[in-house]
């Protein structure tokens, strides 16, 4: 322990545990790990899951008794509570990590330059992996995402503004409908657009029609997330705007929406996340082309989820490999869009001092 006086005070963190205090805990975990390894080796427990399934309860119990011996019952209960929460966090983290790793490991072998420059017009799914590519599906998916954003984000945010700011007639009914809409199964959204648009209007299967189906799923997500964000804006700010002689519209446009901007971007991202991987609505509405079609309003298009679905359905070695590569590409595209939205959304003018 160092003594400090007022003249030569050095910054320290007395609340932090010293390595000496942490060491017993680490040793206990090492001991438990060895014990678990022995149990798996010599008893009926087998596999990776057995390690985790044994390590967490045994480790928790060991730490509990150590903490009770050293620091008393309160600390011991604290250890148990922390352990339960850490287990929860790990339980969430492991599947995410597993998905990312599996996608990466299985998708990477199929990644090549041709994948991004050619389509499947001349190739078949069962051809060797180098033949043909994803270009048509990447272009189709980007169109679908952008068109769905163009339709759903304004619609979702305006609906949220109506419900939280204007609170006009029918708010309750609209709120109910938004909730009901967010429960619509995605295949039903596809069927609805198929019967309401494709069968009754001159519009045929195309990227635009498919994004209409996706918008049915995206609008309620964006609306509800935007509502949550708008409700967090303090009422003081609205009153301040109105008290300065602004109309409600100007108050909302100049004060409420800018204050909620980053949250509204998050709401839109949630919407994109909802639809980016949807396959079912595309089956009836997109057509599922194998050739590149840069026109989203006329003619059938491809999409990555559709491509992934087709590849797995065929089930040959090559087609499954193609699907894994397409999953990796889809993941990267979605992550790139999220990052872009975050960067744009967090940019604030005049943030410098």
């Amino acid at each position: 322990m160092t003594t400090t006086n007022l003249v030569t005070a050095t910054p320290s963190r007395p609340w932090q545990k010293t390595p000496k205090e942490i060491l017993p805990s680490i040793l206990i975990y090492v001991g438990v790990a060895i014990l678990v390894a022995l149990i798996v080796e010599f008893t009926g427990f087998k596999g990776k899951l057995a390690y985790i399934g044994l390590f967490i309860p045994i480790g928790t119990i060991a730490q509990f008794f150590w903490a009770r011996y050293k620091f008393g019952m309160k600390a011991a209960k604290d250890v148990v509570a922390s352990s339960i929460m850490a287990t929860g966090a790990i339980a969430v983290f492991i599947p995410v990590l597993s998905i990312l790793l599996t996608t990466f490991i299985k998708g990477l072998p199929g990644i090549s330059l041709e994948l991004f420059t050619t389509d499947m017009g001349e190739a078949s799914f069962t051809d060797p992996v180098g033949n043909g590519g994803l270009l048509h599906a990447i272009v189709g998916t980007l169109y679908l995402i952008l068109l769905s954003i163009a339709i759903s984000v304004p619609m979702g945010i305006l609906t949220a503004l109506y419900l939280t700011e204007i609170k006009g007639p029918g708010s309750r009914f609209i709120q109910f409908m938004v909730q009901a809409m967010s429960g619509v199964p995605s295949v039903v959204a596809g069927l609805f657009i198929f019967s309401a648009v494709i069968l009754t209007t001159p519009l045929d299967t195309s990227g635009f029609v498919a994004s209409l189906a996706l918008s049915i799923l995206m609008v309620p997500t964006v609306t509800r997330a935007s509502q949550e964000v708008l409700l967090l804006i303090p009422n003081d700010l609205r009153e301040a705007g109105l008290a300065m002689g602004a109309t409600q519209w100007r108050t909302v446009a100049m004060i409420v929406v800018p204050a909620a901007k980053s949250g509204l971007v998050t709401a839109s991202i949630l919407g994109v996340a909802r639809i980016a991987g949807e396959t079912a609505p595309l089956i009836f509405t997109l057509g599922g082309a194998d050739k590149l079609n840069p026109n989203p309003v006329s003619g059938i298009q491809g999409a990555l989820p559709f491509y992934i679905w087709s590849g797995f359905r065929l089930g040959t070695e090559e087609s499954v490999q193609r699907s894994w590569s397409a999953i990796l590409v889809l993941l990267v595209i979605v992550l790139a869009l999220f990052t872009l939205a975050r960067v744009v959304g967090s940019k604030q003018k005049g943030a410098r001092k």
Binding site: G241, G245, A246, K261, G350
Partner: protein, 303 residues
């Protein structure tokens, strides 16, 4: 301009007086502060016409919150509204610039005359009313998405008032100057309003209300969230502004009412709707109130 300078010098002297009298607080010292101020204000000429509330009632749903309040705020005066919590002071000043109607269940009766015209008259453009009657709130609320400079000029954009760039810069400086904030922020007008201290934020909010050049400024407990130093700065600002506009200030701080106001109104609710018990020159309210309830309140016997 010379006139304005004279005024501010006058107010400098006054703020020193305030510092001296802050130490001891007895009903007598309150009245002497008020008398002091009344003497100083005696020479000031009121300007323009004022704001007048006639028989104002307010309801929230079936709850009658405010009953029959009549106050004539003459131009160029500072009127303090005091009274215990829940007596309807805040409700009353919110009826003056028609902020009352934003509460969904609110109802209103009576007249509020601005320059002789009823602000509740059918067909009145309410946004124009609120341009002329500015408001400062209890909690400092600078707009979070805007810089200090943008905050001050936000009223122009909100009310869609067109103005040249040079004019805007001039206005920005004069508003911050009048709110007593210019020297502290002139080098960081591009910083966010949230980076200021609470007291500075409140003065920023005052500067923001001044930008649209209101005739009346309503202040709803503007110092209740601030430390004594910031409170003093705001009071100086109020004194300076009172030469050019009508100010109505709701406050729980009776010393503050005595220090800054020319007239004081005492509100009270005895279970029923809030009522205006007594209104008079501040010096009189604090030294020889006519109503026993007022005397009890200003002498600290309840509330």
């Amino acid at each position: 301009m010379t006139n304005g300078n004279e005024n501010s010098e006058n107010n400098q002297g006054e703020s020193e007086d305030k510092m001296d009298t802050q130490a001891k607080v007895t009903p007598n010292s309150l009245s002497s502060v008020a008398q002091n101020r009344a003497d100083k204000q005696a020479g000031t000429q009121p300007m323009g016409t004022g704001l007048e509330a006639r028989g104002v009632h307010a309801w929230f749903g079936s709850h009658h919150a405010l009953s029959d309040v009549t106050i004539d705020f003459s131009a160029g005066t500072v009127t303090a509204l005091i009274g215990p919590s829940g007596c309807g002071k805040s409700t009353f000043i919110r009826t003056l610039n028609r902020m009352h109607e934003f509460i969904p269940t609110a109802a209103f009766a009576g007249q509020v005359l601005l320059d002789g015209k009823d602000v509740y008259q059918k067909g009145t453009d309410v946004t124009k009313i609120r341009l002329q009657i500015g408001m400062v709130f209890q909690k400092p609320n600078p707009f979070p998405s805007m810089t200090i400079g943008e905050n001050v000029l936000s009223g122009l954009h909100l009310a869609q008032i067109k103005m040249g760039k040079a004019e805007k810069e001039e206005l920005l400086e004069s508003c911050l100057e009048r709110a007593g904030l210019w020297n502290e922020v002139k080098d960081r007008l591009g910083a966010h309003g949230g980076s200021l201290s609470g007291g500075q934020q409140q003065r920023l909010c005052i500067a923001r209300s001044l930008a649209v050049n209101p005739k009346v400024l309503l202040m709803d407990e503007p110092c209740s969230a601030l430390d004594p130093g910031s409170t003093l700065r705001i009071e100086e600002t109020i004194s300076q502004l009172s030469s050019s506009m009508t100010i109505v200030i709701v406050t729980h701080n009776m010393q503050q009412a005595a220090r800054v106001s020319d007239y004081t109104g005492f509100f009270l609710s005895d279970g029923g709707p809030g009522e205006l018990i007594e209104l008079g020159p501040t010096a009189e309210i604090f030294s020889r109130p006519k109503d026993q309830r007022t005397e009890n309140y200003v002498s600290g016997r309840f509330g």
